[in-house]
Symmetry: C2
Subunit: 238 residues, 2 copies
């Protein structure tokens, strides 16, 4: 009999473990976009994102970022610290793309003169709307201290990842983070992968992320493999 | 021959005067909603909003708020200081209504546990999107100092107007402000009226603002007249 997940999201399943402080995250191949309107599968995405996320958490850990990742359990599973996820998505942007390009009327690919940080209300029913510090306070989504820590940590992560990726000829366009509380401490949670970041090849501008799925650009699995290869040197074989 | 306005907006026309530091604002009866999709006329709105705005600017002036209003010229015209309007709309909210109620999924009329301040990009083509401090900086819409001053001033205005209106049995639900530069100084500009605020009768909850037009509630002109009467005691006769 297969174990029931505690929670099944759009990209991952979360399982309890014997230890209440630890959870098992299982990465699926399911892909969704536009708030669940577009649905599909990206072959091996779960395996690739499990590896890529593990790599990024370890990299960030080396730079002093506190995160939930403990260790990799299998191809599609990682053990993480149990978090009470704050319903706030933190987005950092270096280049205008996606919803920001639309919002401010800028062409996709235009460099932002200053790094842009955004908060979104993690609420599928509402379509994850953009919110600001006042909304977070009024809704009681996070304390002012937590908002400050999330903003500072997100900008620090931008510096760490941006510098690392540049060496691999990957441009970090933007990315989304989730944070949560573990025994009162705010930790980086969820995943960091081509599902939650935009990566463009520095030389060709080729998109190596979920936009290939969102916009039907083809070679979706190949893009995720290429990211893993650039990051770790691992040649992924199906 | 009628003089050509420098600029004609959705609710007002702006005329030059002999003095480059002063402009004439002419209040029209035109009413628009939903970013110009709904159009109509509210009889005498121009006259009423000219009076109501003049009243509010004078009230705010007495409380130390720096604004563009100089004096009333005619039924529909006021003389103001020339501003370079910053393309940022500043919204203050006390009760969830309109787009905020939609954004955060709250019922209209629910009291916000904390005052909410929002910035919108004043850009009709983009539908005046919600933006945050980072967007303002990246777009170069205002300096950090100006953002701070606008926020502080808007919250102070909320206190002043809220207290005054409460005495008149009007609940200040939310309102929109525009600021601009006059000789390097940041002044409150535009208008303060039932077009740009939500006022609800404190006892009955009746809406006395542009929502009567937006939502086809009837008695639109009467609501504007009632606001003028409550504020100033003036019984407006057509
Ligand atoms: N360490 C953790 N503890 C508890 N929940 C977590 C942790 N890391 C991520 N989650 C949550 O797991 C859920 C499943 O992930 P995902 O499939 O991406 O969900 P979603 O459909 O909400 O994007 C998400 O709600 C995410 O916030
Ligand atoms: N003191 C001022 N100096 C210059 N422009 C002003 C001043 N006060 C308001 N304005 C601008 O006058 C324009 C006309 O007003 P309105 O009809 O409300 O325009 P809109 O259609 O942009 O809402 C607006 O762009 C507003 O920002
Ligand atoms: Mg997710
Ligand atoms: Mg206007």
């Amino acid at each position: 009999m297969e174990k029931q997940p505690l929670y099944e999201g759009k990209a991952k399943k979360i399982y309890a473990t014997d230890n209440a402080d630890e959870l098992l995250v299982y990465y699926k191949d399911d892909a969704t976009a536009f708030n669940g309107i577009k649905r599909g599968t990206i072959l091996n995405k779960g395996v690739l994102n499990n590896k890529i996320s593990a790599f990024f958490f370890e990299l960030l850990g080396k730079h002093g970022i506190k995160h939930h990742y403990i260790r990799t359990i299998s191809d599609r599973e990682m053990l993480v610290k149990t978090l009470k996820i704050l319903p706030v998505e933190v987005v950092v942007r270096n280049i205008a793309a996606g919803s920001l390009a639309k919002r401010i009327g800028w062409e996709e690919g235009k460099k932002l003169p200053t790094t842009v940080l955004e908060f979104y209300y993690k609420n599928d029913e509402l379509g994850d709307p953009l919110i600001n510090d006042y909304h977070i306070k009024a809704l009681g989504l996070a304390t002012e201290d937590q908002v400050k820590t999330m903003a500072e940590t997100a900008l620090k992560i931008n510096d760490i990842l941006g510098a690392y990726l540049k060496e691999k000829n990957l441009e970090l366009i933007d990315f989304k983070l989730e944070f949560g509380l573990h025994k009162g401490e705010l930790l980086l949670g969820d995943e960091i992968s081509p599902d939650t970041c935009r990566f463009w090849d520095s030389r060709t501008g080729e998109k190596l992320d979920k936009d290939r799925f969102r916009r039907d650009l083809g070679n979706v699995e190949e893009a995720y493999k290429e990211v893993l290869y650039r990051l770790t040197g691992e040649v992924f074989a199906d």
